[in-house]
Amino acid sequence: MVHELLTRVASFPRRDGHYRVMGFDAPAIAESVRAGQFVNLLLRPGPLLRRPFSVYRTMPDGTVEIIYRPVGEGTALLAGMQIGEPVSVLGPLGRPFEFDPAWGSVALVSGGLGVAPMWLAARDARAAGLRVTWVHGARTSAELSLEWVGDEIVFATDDGSRGFHGSAVAAVPDGVGAVLACGPNRMLAAVAARWPDAQVAVETYMGCGTGVCLGCAVPLRAGGYDRACKEGPVYRAADVDWEALPSHLHYGVGA
């Protein structure tokens, strides 16, 4: 069930590499949110529309965390907010990742900011009894997110400054039972090529986040479009027409 909580900033922006992590007091969402789902934040004063953010982590005290980088109007405002300042949090929204104990193991593949949904994904994967291999890539070591959970971590950098020299996709070990990925669409297209059945979380412009505006169109291989905020943001990799899906966000990752 979707909640709209008029709540407050619960924790100061914490730095994780060159990302910021920020918490909101939102118990009703914290207890029901699943990996891959997002919250839609309204800032006043601020831009006309809400800004969607994947739920990064949840805390036992009911805090919902997001991870972001200041790139524009909304994120600049977030970065300047103090503990206790008001914000409206709408969520949880969207279709979450699915987990199947039969997989045995799962690889969580993230490029740059694509790390956002992976903390919850690791949590839910382990709850399903899966072995979690966390694969995280960025352009360079300075842009890696260093917070991780799971059984195994593989870092990858385009410039080889840390871990595997190349893309996160290329760094995924063989033999994992399933793949979950989030990152720039170019990277997700590569995921689709290697693992058609992978689950990927996509990102589009969103007008409402609730399914009414049709602004978040995701072009499908089968033809036509559906809504990243309702049928998505999680898709079977091979179902998306990647050539036709623009990527806006600056993920800090090459391929």
Partner: protein
């Protein structure tokens, strides 16, 4: 708070604007009690995929959209949504679209009498489709033709959704009135463009889009006022309404009711907020009904 809005008696003056409320079934946290009516997302006879992304871009106090009238077509509408509308305690009007006057007429004929369909809003003002749409809206003869074509095929109330992209909206308004419209919705979005400085091309795949939101409110109030001065049928004000005060500007300027659109995207409860705020304003002003609200409406 009941109002007469173009052939329909509504329990409240606040209506959900077409394309910003889906088919009435999507919006979360919906407070039905506050809804005067819903205008459905625009529909064509046949299914339409809509435009490729990006379809929206935010602008100062507004947004551009070029959805392209994505929709399942009239048969799916009748099958999947009308039955639910029939159970609701407020009317649902269908926003109808076509590429010719005949297509508009056909749509009306097909939907006329279907349980759940309370009336029609003729969209002669969509800026986001190649054919039809706005073309009908800025030519008085074409607008009248479409209105008459629908009028011939239904006895249900007809509202015509006017485009702001005209040099004199009064002329179009009168043309629709004489062609048999029961009400006018003023206005649809303004055509706008935004350029991406990374690609040196328009941000929207459709190149242009329709501007909505608070940015256009002063323009919408003026145009709705011009329309209201020109005709005797009710005018429904729409454009940039976020608060009860915004809605009251349209009502004072001569509108019988208002539609709330983009505001719902940021606040799913916007319509209830506006509805309750109008009631509170009337009470605070010692007015016992909307009929007592002072209007500023010098007649042409």
């Amino acid at each position: 708070m009941a109002v007469d809005a173009g052939g329909l008696r509504l329990r409240g003056p606040v209506i959900a604007a077409s394309g910003t409320f889906g088919y009435g079934t999507e919006v979360p946290l919906l407070e039905r009690r506050a809804l005067g009516a819903i205008v459905s997302k625009g529909i064509f006879l046949r299914p339409r995929p809509g435009n490729p992304p990006p379809r929206i871009v935010e602008t100062p106090s507004g947004m551009l959209n070029a959805i392209g009238l994505q929709g399942p077509g009239v048969e799916a509408l009748i099958r999947d949504y009308c039955p639910r509308w029939a159970e609701w305690d407020f009317p649902v009007l269908v926003n109808i679209n076509g590429e010719s006057a005949d297509e508009y007429g056909e749509l009306a004929a097909r939907l006329d009498g279907v349980p759940g369909v309370a009336g029609f809003e003729i969209n002669v003002s969509c800026p986001n489709v190649e054919q039809g749409g706005m073309y009908f809206g800025n030519d008085p003869r074409a607008a009248a033709e479409v209105t008459a074509a629908v009028r011939r095929r239904t006895r249900l109330p007809i509202w015509v959704k006017l485009t702001p992209m005209v040099s004199d909206i009064a002329v179009i308004a009168r043309a629709c009135e004489s062609a048999g419209a029961d009400g006018l919705s003023a206005i649809n979005t303004f055509v706008g463009m935004s350029i991406d400085l990374h690609t040196f091309r328009p941000r929207l795949s459709f190149r242009t889009g329709g501007l909505s939101g608070p940015a256009i409110r002063p323009l919408a109030v003026h145009l709705a006022h011009q329309a209201a001065r020109a005709v005797r049928i009710p005018v429904i004000g729409v454009g940039g309404i976020v608060s009860a005060e915004d809605a009251l500007e349209f009502l004072v300027a001569g509108c019988a009711a208002v539609q709330v659109g983009t505001a719902t995207f940021a606040d799913p409860r916007a319509i209830a907020r506006v509805h309750d705020g109008i009631a509170a304003f009337l009470e605070a002003s010692g007015l016992s009904s909307l009929a007592e609200l002072p209007r500023y409406l010098p007649r042409d």
